[in-house]
């Protein structure tokens, strides 16, 4: 790959698609998947900038972001399960206990 900066275009596009998924979808599982998409897009830009700057710190950041993403999805899915137990739904519009 002679022009690594082209990867940044893919990264930006996937990030914005993930953002749209978080805004549009109401199913909490798909919202979590969109968050994973955004984290992956950021990881790709980290790796691309590491390549552009001839440095390895960017790749190490990918390592750390991946760990945070794994922890985030584990806790997030645990929250979804706990929510499903009390509300019997994974729809984010149904979470309105404070309003009632």
């Amino acid at each position: 790959m002679n022009d690594p900066w082209l990867m940044l275009i893919v990264s930006c596009t996937v990030f914005v698609i993930g953002l749209l998924g978080v805004v549009f979808r109401k199913n909490l599982l798909i919202v979590l998947m969109s968050v994973e998409l955004m984290l992956n897009a950021v990881n790709l830009s980290f790796a691309t900038f590491a390549r552009l700057h001839h440095s390895l710190e960017g790749q190490l950041s990918v390592l750390f972001v991946m760990t945070v993403a794994a922890a985030e999805s584990a806790v997030g899915l645990g929250l979804v399960i706990a929510l499903f137990r009390t509300l019997k739904t994974a729809d984010s519009d149904q979470i309105q206990m404070l309003r009632d």
Partner: protein
């Protein structure tokens, strides 16, 4: 046209179309499998960037661990009936959000174009990494020499996540034990 550019085109097309499918599919299961497609193509993009360790890790951690977790939770909740939540939101909201997202994308792409002029000054060029014995050895040296404290901190984060997940998932059982 060289092969790496062709591979880049293929992988990036799969990544973008796959991520569109993630947010447009009706059932969570098909979203999850589109997400697997995206993760695989991202792994290919990492390999094209010379980040071979990250490419392997992407398959192991994301496709192997996180996606299995997602599919298990979908199975556990029985949430595979099609939803129409995309159609429920109002047209005005959808239009404004899409326009805003496209504006944001334009700004991001403007910022990205300036990355063309970046002239790397770091010491880890391809030749240097090959001399050190490959991507994995170079990463290991930097990680365990300069970033060892961060590495230890991240293990505490994993521990905290495990404790939090167990506390969340076991909550009902704890209550039952208290009542008994």
């Amino acid at each position: 046209m060289d092969w790496s550019f062709l591979a880049f085109i293929v992988f990036s097309t799969i990544a973008i179309l796959g991520s569109l499918m993630v947010i447009l599919q009706k059932t969570p299961v098909s979203s999850a499998f589109s997400l697997v497609l995206v993760f695989f193509s991202f792994s290919g993009l990492y390999a094209l960037l010379g980040a071979h360790f990250i490419a392997a890790l992407q398959i192991l951690v994301y496709t192997g661990a996180i996606m299995v977790l997602f599919v298990f939770v979908i199975m556990l909740l029985g949430q595979d009936e099609p939803t129409s939540d995309l159609k429920e939101s109002s047209l005005l909201f959808k239009g404004v959000a899409t326009l805003g997202a496209f504006g944001f994308l334009t700004i991001l792409l403007q910022a990205v174009l300036s990355a063309k002029e970046i002239n790397g000054k770091g010491i880890y060029t391809d030749e240097k990494i090959a001399e050190m014995g490959g991507n994995l050895k170079a990463i290991a040296e930097v990680l365990f020499r300069d970033y060892i404290f961060h590495f230890e901190l991240i293990s505490f984060l994993i521990l905290a996540a495990v404790v939090a997940t167990v506390a969340l998932a076991k909550r009902k059982n704890f209550n039952e034990e208290e009542n008994a």
